[in-house]
């Protein structure tokens, strides 16, 4: 796990100035079923999208739906950030959106099933108000409507 002191000097300086969100309480939904009976959805902030979907803008709080039937090699890296090495992600999108790994878990019976859709956000959001108030709750509502029990989230 990377503490801030392990960041490069530019990023450390930025993070010290940036007033991030700070919460005291944590929402809590207890797992109601064993994992091998749960319906699972993936959420990534890697900014992946599919051919034909609108590109992400910088600081964009919107999201794209990724159907479960998507082949991971069809995912387009839409994250507009030069801040990290993207070669790994482009070689293997599972690195930040582990759809193939979860399909393997589904086949092995370790999770109940995968939801018919997953969600992709952009990561570089310094003004997250629209995310907090609109788009993230919207995705929560959609997943609840889908009967999803568990969401697995990955940053980039």
């Amino acid at each position: 796990m990377a503490p801030l002191r392990k960041l490069d000097p530019f990023s450390r300086f930025f993070m010290k100035l940036y007033r991030g969100k700070h919460y005291e309480a944590t929402p809590h939904t207890r797992l109601r079923l064993p994992l091998n009976e749960c319906r699972v959805a993936l959420i990534t902030t890697a900014g992946f999208l599919l051919d034909g979907q609108p590109p992400f803008e910088s600081g964009d709080c919107s999201y794209r739906e990724i159907p479960n039937a998507t082949q991971t090699q069809a995912l387009i890296n839409g994250h507009k950030s030069a801040a990290y090495d993207e070669r790994g992600l482009e070689t293997d999108p599972n690195l930040a959106f582990p759809l193939d790994r979860f399909k393997e878990l589904e086949t092995e019976g370790k999770i109940g099933s995968l939801n018919h859709r997953h969600f992709s956000f952009m990561g570089s959001i310094t003004k997250p108000e629209a995310l907090i108030e609109k788009t993230a709750p919207e995705v929560g509502h959609k997943l609840k409507t889908d009967g999803v029990d568990v969401a697995f989230l990955t940053p980039v």
């Binding site: 944590t26 994992l35 790994r101 959001i125 568990v150």
Partner: protein
Amino acid sequence: MCNQSVGLIQRAVEAAGISTVSITLIEDITKKVKPPRALGVPYGFGHPLGEPNNLALQHAIIAEALALLEDKTPPPILKSSRQHDMLVDSNSSTNRIA
């Protein structure tokens, strides 16, 4: 910023009545956002599941994260991954803001 965004999305999805777990690359941000369950990993930005095409490592990280869903400790739970020695190629990329 990705790690903050994940935590914020996670809080909203958990509040909608879904159990959630996330991977984090920056412990200090996750401690502030306090999502219900997070697994801290020691890899660089762009590499939350360790390495491309390292299926064993990716599955080990996922299994460790999913186990947090069954942890009886009251949230927020922030745990460090134990999969430090499964990297095939140990070139360490410097973390920058993603």
